[in-house]
């Protein structure tokens, strides 16, 4: 597989849940739940089988190893988490419509990813946890980030800087600050303090406003 095909292959992986046996779907469902709760290494295949209501051998009929099961969960998960940045219309088009501001773009991104994470909290937990320990997963993500997300972000930021709409710092710093703000909010909202009372619309709005204007009073 050459490098051109690599990302396409990854993307296709996002749709591979089409031809799943009912029992295979149950296995994935159970594995996601338990991996998220206890972590991959602390989860036994017998436990997954029990929760999925299948024999332990059935897991290995579909996945050669326990690790292959993890990968078949996380890799499509990474795709789905980052796919808005793949879709050409998402960043580039928004960026081309000059009427729209960087602030508008950020609002779209944060709302879009907020809703995705809301529906996929356990998946996000697994991705964050297991990327730290499995080199292949980290590299899948890094590859996507470097080839797809960063260039588009960079294109937009560079243009907005040129137009004098955002501050003239290095793009890498602006992108890092932007992403940690958005990701930090989403992680706080769903992983760290999911049970606090959140006015989501208000908080998204304030987060973007602080990102754009900082925490000094309006001048």
């Amino acid at each position: 597989m050459d490098k051109q095909d690599y990302l396409q292959h990854l993307i296709n992986a996002g749709e591979e849940d089409v031809q799943l046996t009912p029992k295979q779907a149950k296995i994935l469902e159970a594995a996601i739940e338990i991996f998220a709760e206890k972590g991959y290494a602390a989860t036994s295949t017998s436990e997954i089988a029990k929760k999925a209501g299948v024999a332990e051998g059935t897991i290995f009929r579909h996945y050669k190893t326990k690790k292959e099961l993890l990968i078949s969960i996380v890799t499509p998960g990474i795709i789905k988490l980052t796919v808005p940045f793949f879709a050409d219309q998402f960043v580039s088009e928004v960026f081309k419509e000059r009427s729209e501001s960087y602030e508008q773009l950020l609002r779209k991104i944060i709302r879009n990813r907020f809703e995705f994470v809301q529906k996929n909290v356990p998946l996000l937990k697994i991705i964050i946890q297991e990327m730290a320990f499995h080199e292949e997963l980290k590299q899948s993500f890094q590859s996507i980030f470097i080839k797809k997300i960063f260039p588009k972000f960079d294109e937009a930021v560079t243009q907005f800087k040129k137009d004098g709409l955002i501050v003239d710092y290095p793009s890498s710093s602006i992108i890092r600050f932007t992403m940690t703000t958005i990701i930090g909010f989403i992680i706080t909202r769903f992983l760290i303090l999911p049970e606090a009372e959140w006015d989501d619309d208000e908080e998204i709005d304030r987060t973007i406003r602080m990102l754009m204007h900082g925490i000094q009073p309006d001048s």
Copy 2:
């Protein structure tokens, strides 16, 4: 143990490395390294013993269980990570010297924690990873945050708001934004992209400036 003593007991835990046997120190050292690299659940006690150069039984002479070994690493780690917010002079005094701004306070915090993390990257990895799976650890941290960190932060933010030096949003939003910015930077710097080229002084300065003034151009 009543609740008053609880935090004091946690703080004392930070100094318990005084009366350590040489072999016990080796065990802790080895465990920190391997836990950080492979995760607690994927690490065997035989592996720790081997790396520490001791017999496996020696580990259980000092720690009743493998989990007790983890706790005796992470709990003091949490203390050391958060202790600047305990120390009365750190936040409150800075806040009382009105000549100093919120920006100055943030610079002190970010520099101080930057240097601590720099010297304790594996420890930070373990804390982040294992808090997700061990309820006691999560609660230790939450207890410290709610009782010690948040109130002092809140006191400072409220005063600065009153003085018109920072924007009049809810303190919880300002604190969340401030913390995700600082933590996001430190995690990016040491865990996500440790091998990138960083001009640390410049980047700390820009991070605080973006935090204070946002990413719109200077007005």
